[in-house]
Amino acid sequence: MAAVSRTSDAEVAELCARGDRAAQRDLFLRTRNAVHHTLYRVLGSNRDIEDLLQETYLAVFRSIGNYAGRSSLLTWCCSVATHVALSHLRRKKPVPVAHLEIESDAPSTDQVVRARAALARLYHALDRIDPTQRVAFALAVIDGRSLAEVAEMTGASLSAVKTQVWRAKKAIDKRAAVDPLLRDYVTDLARDAEGVA
């Protein structure tokens, strides 16, 4: 990992593109948690995650020669993961599951259980909307990323992302109208998220 931190992203990309296994491994270790985080937030669980992580890194190492340095290598890897997740959602009839561990140092069991149940319902609702809107909503509202960051990760324009998030929120609000738990949860989530007002 030290080798990577001393080297610029462009140099790392070049080494990886040449098939330098040490550089590839350093990049994998440096970025894997963020890539996993991105996939998990879009999908809502670790279901299929191992295969999607492999698919992501295969795509990363096979296309890293195209890395132009417009964003950090970490963001670029997360962007690849976003596209892999989007392809997965499009090609597969998704099954919404939210397997979330209850941590021992969590605020309280009640809160965690409530959040967990609400999040499962939210992913259930997201499962029925357009995958592009789902990805934008998951990254912006659930994960709390800025719209600019989401735009960078999805390759869409800022205004397009804003529209996608807004449409997703509108679709979820319809479902939340008859589900108080989901309604309260989405309200809380959206309070400080961009593009959902």
């Binding site: 937030r41 392809s87 209850i102």
Partner: protein, 360 residues
């Protein structure tokens, strides 16, 4: 990725170190393998997809045919991959997005989607299989007087006595469902015999079927065969000895037996439905069967919570891929709560399970 959202958004469930290690191993193996063996991210409408995947599968199968000893068996319904003579050195078979079937020795193996199985041995020396991840169903001839047929699933060992059975691996845990015959399961120093119609699940043997047991096999997928790391895949010059077979349809497995909550399941202390609901929700990820039973018990025991609990049971069954049970529970919910607060979701669930059926 803000830390202050942790109270609202439960943290990302970390992956075990073993998973990361396995993923890294698979990644480097895939990168070192010929590009045709990989499944690149594609969209379902890409017309070139199946020809490319089929070409990859044929090339991989041809490599397998060269690496593995050949036999002269010719099954009536040919599987995607046939290894009637077993294999002298361990080999790994992986499936892509759909189930696939293979013949190994005298056993028929159906590998679920996104599953991987290590194969070694033969009918003379005995067969040793390791389910690396995913799900596999085995049809094995009785082993009386024959070499053993053993499936390893993490620390769990399943020894065949003559049976058809399904094994599911989820991380380091395993489930075994016996369709007919009998198997012996050894785990944590304990030995259990599991008979037809029973499920071995984390050391407990119960009647019933695994969630999401496939009733039919989808169109035949490509089979990627990865040779042992020490053996470089040879250049394929000869036509493949293994043909991609047409879809194989099989009858459903053992009938599902829904376990009804018993009085023993009910707490003897003061009953707190809210706590019971929370406890059931907390069980979902670790012990979904128990969670489902707890939701159903709560639906019977606490009328005020029946709406939420019954729908939660239907959703959980659906989430686990158990369409039949999800459908039954969602219908049961709607009969009991036609205007309940989850009625909209229950109808959507039913419509999703039976897209051609309009739910009134």
């Amino acid at each position: 990725m803000r830390d202050d959202r942790d109270d609202l958004v439960p943290p990302v469930e970390p992956l075990p170190d073993l998973t990361w290690a396995r993923l890294e191993r698979r990644l480097w193996q895939s990168l070192d393998a010929p590009p045709v063996a990989e499944v690149a991210p594609t969209t379902p409408r890409a017309r070139w997809r199946w020809p490319v995947l089929a070409a990859g599968a044929i090339a991989a199968a041809a490599a397998a045919a060269i690496l593995w000893p050949r036999g002269d068996a010719s099954p009536a319904s040919p599987p995607a991959l046939s290894m009637p003579g077993g294999t002298a050195s361990p080999a790994r078979v992986t499936s892509a997005e759909s189930p696939t079937s293979l013949a190994f020795g005298d056993a028929d193996i159906r590998l679920g989607p996104h599953s991987a199985l290590f194969l070694s041995g033969d009918d003379q020396r005995g067969v040793d299989l390791v389910l690396d991840h995913g799900r596999a169903h085995f049809e094995v001839a009785p082993r009386v007087g024959r070499a053993p047929f053993v499936v390893h699933v993490g620390a769990v060992r399943v020894t065949v006595i003559g049976t058809g059975f399904t094994v599911i691996r989820d991380g380091e845990s395993a489930q075994v469902e016996v369709v007919h015959g009998i198997v012996e399961v050894v785990a944590d120093g304990r030995r259990d015999r599991v008979a037809a119609g029973q499920v071995w699940d984390h050391g407990l043997v119960r009647d019933g079927a695994l969630a999401g047991t496939p009733a039919a096999v989808a169109p035949q997928p490509p089979v990627a065969v990865e040779p042992p790391p020490v053996v470089a895949p040879p250049v394929v010059a000869a036509p493949p000895a293994v043909a991609i077979a047409p879809p194989v349809r099989r009858a459903p497995t053992a009938p599902r037996v829904e376990r009804q909550p018993t009085p023993a399941d009910e707490p003897t202390a003061a009953f707190d439905p809210k706590a019971a609901y929370a406890a059931a929700a907390a069980l979902e990820s670790q012990a979904p069967d128990r969670a489902l039973a707890a939701y159903l018990a709560l639906a019977d025991a606490a009328p005020a919570w029946a709406d939420a609990a019954l729908f939660a049971a239907a959703r959980l069954a659906f989430d686990r891929g158990d369409s039949a049970r999800g459908k039954a529970l969602a219908s049961r919910y709607l009969r009991r709560f036609p205007h309940g607060r989850n009625a909209l979701d229950a109808r959507a669930l039913l419509e999703r399970l039976s897209p051609t059926t309009r739910v009134e």
